[in-house]
């Protein structure tokens, strides 16, 4: 099966490890991954900030409509593509684009959805001997309904010690530009999320959205909590003896102080 990767602008720019991990997992399962180089951004940041970019919807459709399946290592971007693209196209008066984006939306999958619903792979052969807690991001549970798919994938990882996160389904306070437009409320929500993470005693906080992890990880780093944040793909890509995040010396979750 030929799968196109829509890597998302955030991962492309700041977290290429997540893109590499997504490619590695799928290739390990015997699938061919393609990366259309003219892809840029789904436009969610624009949309949710009040700026509509029908050009980005058109670009996404042009880049990906010829594929059987498109994998997105972000529930939030996948949800935006599925639910917001047709709305933006319609608001711009482009009914044809709206229909094309609706048709394509059915073939756009968040990583855990692709693995379980399309590829039927619950055990991807990963090895990750660490204590991990999982934060189900808002758009993954409430917008995309991935349900327990990420947890099922994580439970099949050898060596992993999965611990439950108290109040897991409560928002971490990221919310895209909310984090800078309403920094105080965002920080108040972040504080509670970090408290919950620390309560678990986990070494690693995992989620399916690098954006939320950038926020929670940035907060954990600020207090020198010693908890790493890893995207689901990075844990699923880890293998025994590999040089992925299972090993020592990974840079993921590192930060600089501005």
């Amino acid at each position: 099966m030929k799968i196109a990767l829509f890597v998302t602008c955030l991962v492309d720019a700041l977290f290429p490890d997540v893109g590499r991990a997504t490619v590695n997992v799928l290739e390990r399962l015997g699938h061919e991954v393609e990366f259309p180089l003219a892809q840029t951004c789904c436009g969610q940041m624009h949309t949710n900030s009040g700026y509509r970019q029908p050009a980005l919807v058109r670009r996404f459709v042009n880049q990906f409509e010829s594929y059987d399946a498109v994998v997105v290592p972000s529930a939030s971007c996948a949800a935006s593509i599925r639910h917001q693209h047709p709305v933006i196209a319609r608001a711009a008066g482009d009914e044809r684009l709206a229909r094309s984006s609706e048709l394509l939306a059915g073939r756009v999958y968040e990583l855990s959805q692709l693995l379980l619903d399309v590829l039927g792979a619950e055990d991807v052969g990963a090895y990750f001997p660490h204590r991990v807690t999982y934060h189900p991001t808002c758009h993954s549970v409430r917008s995309l309904d991935v349900d327990d798919r990420p947890l099922r994938l994580l439970r099949s990882v050898r060596g992993i010690e999965l611990v439950g996160l108290p109040g897991s389904e409560e928002c971490c306070g990221f919310g895209g530009t909310f984090a800078v437009k309403n920094p105080d409320v965002s920080a108040a929500m972040l504080a509670d999320k970090m408290t919950a993470v620390l309560e678990t005693g986990a070494e690693v906080l995992c989620a399916g959205d690098r954006s939320c992890l950038m926020h929670i990880g940035g907060g954990l780093q600020r207090i020198r909590a010693g908890v790493r944040t890893l995207h689901l793909a990075e844990i699923l890509a880890s293998v025994d003896g590999g040089d992925g995040p299972a090993g020592i010396g990974s840079r993921s979750g590192g930060g600089v102080r501005a």
């Binding site: 890597v7 602008c9 492309d12 720019a13 700041l14 977290f15 290429p16 893109g19 490619v23 393609e34 990366f35 259309p36 180089l37 003219a38 892809q39 840029t40 951004c41 436009g43 624009h46 949309t47 900030s49 009040g50 700026y51 509509r52 970019q53 042009n62 990906f64 010829s66 639910h83 917001q84 608001a91 808002c138 758009h139 409430r142 917008s143 409560e170 928002c171 306070g173 919310g175 895209g176 909310f178 984090a179 800078v180 437009k181 309403n182 920094p183 105080d184 409320v185 920080a187 972040l190 926020h215 990880g217 940035g218 907060g219 780093q221 600020r222 930060g255 600089v256 102080r257 501005a258």
Partner: protein
């Protein structure tokens, strides 16, 4: 639009008001305790009904039917209510509604009225409008009375004094309630007893009551008030004159529709299977209850909201507060930060539409779009989708030159393959962000570290490692283009 002197200031800034609230430890504790209790009770009550999603869909459909033929249903309601002896008045805005209510009261010669807690009268600032004409309105709902005695503003739709704890309530009673017992404690029973004795005198003295309504039935001309304390029942039955201010979106087509809402409302609002008191009346019943019954149908911006195809779903709202109780933003700010009458997620979609987004430009951004509000809404208002639409309207209606420039520049970069690659490569400069002290990222770095930029963007790795011709199969490129 006027919002009464205590209710509205021009374009309140949510971020600044919220910043004050998050640092108020007492407020945070009070609201966290209250909302988490109601949240748990709601979850239990809703979990009992296997057909909750169907009920929810029915609730949305009934409201949509009423809203899409409001002209017809309003006239049907008026005819039915008048036939049963009610006087129906139409008010375009707050000023008209306040004037109508004041004239009705003045015609009775009374100077004091009792009130059933009502969002519509809160919205039009009725209490202060009456005070300006020498009429004193006494709130009789316990929480509304606490807010009134404390010269405070409501911070929650259902529990206006949710931001107060019992010690604070005791202080307010001792300070402001002339007939409070000298040895009043902060035990809930003692506080309720003091309020009860205070209110009983008002119920027996006042000859005019003012209420809102939860539902108005077009078919029969009936109004319904749902409440928990019995104060509403007293107000609706004891006085000689009853004036009800009813937003035009409160209509439901038929009496049977109440079956759906009397399940949805109590379970969503207080986590109860049934409201302790459902008072339902149709015009005048000779010899029983108020003999002069007035209904003021209030528009106050609602017709304008109806014009917006997406935004009008906000008018389905039955004021249950489930969205407030579940909202992680509301839980940390309380209601005052939202500036208007309607706080929380529903306020963030309703207020900008009622008063004009230019007067509430920050409210559509007062959400992380986490979706919890939509999940619990008993009439399935897609609050996040409406918020996103209102963000667009807000950006159009107000001036944000800096943000416009940033998003325009990002948009230009994202529309070209090579421009975008260059932009991605420049992300490395983020390493030096600290040295330049970039102001726009300060709200981020105040609370969090910046991520360490990678040596190269993902696409450069891809081109180097994967996007090479492989043994005769040709280049793997697809989807070229600029």
């Amino acid at each position: 639009m006027t919002h009464g002197d205590t209710i509205w200031s021009d374009d309140p800034q949510f971020p600044a008001l919220a910043a004050l609230a998050v640092n108020d430890a007492q407020l945070r504790g009070n609201i966290r305790r209250a909302t988490s209790t109601i949240r748990a009770r709601r979850a239990l009550a809703v979990g009992e009904l296997p057909d909750w999603q169907q009920l929810r869909a029915a609730g949305a459909a009934i409201k949509d039917e009423a809203l899409s033929h409001l002209d017809r249903y309003l006239e049907q309601f008026e005819a039915a209510a008048v036939a049963r002896g009610a006087h129906v008045h139409w008010a375009r805005d707050a000023t008209e509604a306040n004037a109508i209510v004041a004239s009705i009261i003045e015609a009775t010669g009374e100077r004091e009225v009792i009130k059933v807690k009502s969002m519509a009268t809160e919205e039009i600032g009725l209490d202060s409008a009456l005070a300006a004409r020498g009429i004193t309105a006494h709130e009789t709902d316990l929480a509304a009375m606490i807010v009134q005695l404390g010269h405070d503003r409501p911070s929650h739709i259902l529990v206006p004094a949710i931001h107060r704890n019992r010690a604070e309530i005791r202080e307010i009673f001792i300070r402001e309630m002339a007939d409070a017992p000298a040895d009043l404690t902060d035990q809930p029973e003692a506080l309720a007893e003091a309020a009860r004795n205070h209110l009983r005198r008002k119920f027996l003295e006042c000859k005019v009551a003012v209420s809102g309504a939860n539902f108005a039935v077009a078919e029969t001309g009936s109004l319904l008030v749902a409440e928990s304390e019995g104060n509403g029942r007293m107000c609706l039955t004891l006085p000689e004159t009853l004036v009800s201010v009813v937003g035009i979106e409160k209509l439901v087509p038929s009496f049977r529709d109440l079956e759906v809402f009397l399940q949805l409302l109590p379970r969503s609002a207080t986590g109860e299977r049934m409201n302790p008191y459902n008072s339902l009346w149709t015009g005048v019943t000779p010899g029983d209850g108020p003999q002069a019954v007035h209904i003021v149908l209030l528009d106050n911006g609602r017709t304008d909201v109806l014009r917006d195809e997406l935004g009008r779903q906000a008018l389905r709202c039955i004021r249950c507060s489930a969205c407030l109780n579940v909202c992680p933003v509301y839980e940390r700010t309380g209601g005052h930060a939202y500036g208007g009458t309607y706080p929380g997620p529903i306020g963030a979609v309703l207020t900008p539409q009622l008063v004009g987004v230019e007067h509430a430009s920050t409210l559509p951004f007062a959400s992380t779009l986490c979706g919890s509000c939509y999940e619990v809404c008993p009439v399935a208002i897609d609050i996040p989708a409406v918020l996103v639409k209102l963000r667009h309207d807000s950006v159009q209606a107000t001036n944000h030159a800096a943000a416009d420039a940033v998003f325009a520049a990002a948009g230009v970069a994202m529309r070209g393959r090579y421009r975008w690659r260059l932009a991605l490569r420049l992300v490395r400069l983020l390493r030096y962000a600290g040295r330049f002290g970039l102001a726009p990222i300060e709200p981020w770095t105040r609370f969090r570290e910046l991520p360490q930029p990678p040596a190269q963007p993902f696409r450069d790795w891809w081109v180097a490692e994967r996007d090479q011709p492989r043994g005769g199969s040709g280049p793997r490129r697809r989807g070229g283009g600029r």
